[in-house]
């Protein structure tokens, strides 16, 4: 009798765990929708509204191609300079945060914690503070990216330093080289290509970030976009978005290509 009642469920003990998971997710979802005051009316109005604005963006306003490109150029420049500042500062920081270079543990632990803290915040938070102190414009954007990117670059680069081959360092030590010589001839050549790789990767991310910094006044194409949005000029919004998508895609692929070549 018992065997004839066997079903697939009896053979899979794990399914219960999954049902609990589904239930928790569903409960969280409903709680969130209620908390945000989103009701069916909001949704049924919102979906056609999204379709409408998308339709209004096409065709993009080609008369604004030039001003969008100028804005995008500034965005690229912000990303280039911001990433470079971060790359320069991240080098000493990453050596300090690495555990294998003989620095006291307290230094590397403190270094890692600071890097983690910086990484917690999106660059827009830095952007809004630099706009408040430096005034609106691309320089605030540069500073925001420069400071914010140190967090991630420092972390990735310190991991690279921690993964280097100790062999060459020992070999130089055996020849009686001093610390700066060991650093210059054994450490730097090992880490440099990968440092460039992480910097390029961060550049790809910063390019996206730089395109939104303008939303808080920190320069670049985001400023153009924000103005178009304030006046509901959807065709200009379409043009700006098109430029962002095209340029980000092209630079993404080129940067990824260079990264592959270097490493």
């Amino acid at each position: 009798m018992k065997t004839s009642n066997t079903s697939l469920r009896d053979y899979e003990k794990k399914s219960m765990k999954w049902y609990v998971g589904y239930f928790v997710v569903l409960a969280l979802f409903i709680w969130s929708m209620i908390g945000m005051n989103i009701n069916l009316e909001r949704i049924s109005d919102g979906i056609p509204a999204m379709g409408r604005i998308l339709a209004l963006m096409v065709p993009p306003d080609t008369a604004r191609l030039e001003s969008s490109v100028i804005g995008m150029i500034e965005t690229i420049q912000i990303a280039v300079i911001g990433t470079t500042i971060a790359a320069i500062f991240s080098i000493p920081v990453s050596f300090m945060a690495a555990r294998n270079l003989g620095l006291p543990t307290a230094v590397s632990t403190a270094g890692k914690q600071i890097l983690n803290a910086i990484r917690t915040f999106p660059s827009l938070v830095f952007g809004i503070f630099f706009v408040a102190s430096y005034g609106p414009g691309p320089l605030a954007g540069v500073m925001a990216l420069g400071i914010n990117s140190i967090g991630m670059l420092g972390k990735l680069n310190s991991e690279i330093v921690e993964a280097i081959d100790p062999g060459p360092i020992e070999a130089l030590e055996a020849t009686g080289a001093n610390y700066p010589e060991m650093f210059l001839y054994a450490v730097i050549p090992q880490v440099l290509p990968e440092f460039i790789g992480t910097t390029l990767y961060r550049f790809e991310l910063n390019l996206r970030q730089a395109s939104v910094l303008g939303l808080v006044g920190a320069g670049g194409i985001g400023v153009t976009l924000m103005q178009a949005l304030q006046f509901r000029r959807w065709a200009i919004v379409g043009m700006t978005m098109l430029v962002i998508i095209v340029v980000v895609t092209i630079l993404d692929y080129s940067s990824a290509f260079i990264r592959k070549k270097i490493i």
Binding site: I81, L225, M241
Partner: protein, 267 residues
Amino acid sequence: MSNSAAEEKPSRFMLVMGKIKGLLAIILVAIIYIWSARGVGFSLIEIIGELPSFFNLLWDMVPPNWAYSIRLINPLLETFQTAIAGTILGTLLAIPLILLCASNVNRNNPLYFASKGFMNLMRTIDPMLYAAILVAGVGLGAFAGMLALMFFSMAVNAKLTSESLEAIDDGPLEAIEACGGNKLEMIKYAVAPQILPTFASYTLYVFEINIRASTVLGLVGAGGIGVNLDTSLNLFRYPNAAMVILATFVVVVLIDHLSNVLREELV
């Protein structure tokens, strides 16, 4: 002898070529830097000159206004809810896109490339850009923020998971095909069991990104605690802004930690 000389020639040529290439690269990089620095009006004097005002601002933030923390509970909850709902909806939308973007599941080439193109296009747009546009389109508030996170997390999740999906063991897929199973059965019995843990892990990762993004959505009016940051700074209430930053930091770190624990459970 002549043999080795013949080998030496191209190698010396390559060496020179390599040096020229290196030099060209350095010149190119230098040009890019000068061009960018001029474009953004980069000047060390200005940066250093303005630093005091930046530190003054930081100084004005100390001590944070602890009392303000009570009024941050609701905005924080809203931030959290925006990230949760955005992640869940984005994940649901990602499922069909993942299957369409995996060449071993979707063997229809034109559809595959169209889906990949769509996914990559959606991925280039930062969640804040979606948010800014949606606020203008569907109105201020968390609804716009949720939709922004939904679009972005759909694209990111589809990208990450479809790449993992293309690397799964195709054996079970072939076995289901050999049993006469249809596409849906192949997905359920050969694809899903292999990809679900990875998919769940990436979903948590996307949730972490969304939590971070949700804290600034308010800067463009898309709800959550970012609204408080924006108003505090606009009204020069710097101790309040400091409290917002602190509260955001604590919540993000806690959720990151929780998410990491969950992810380790999964894998």
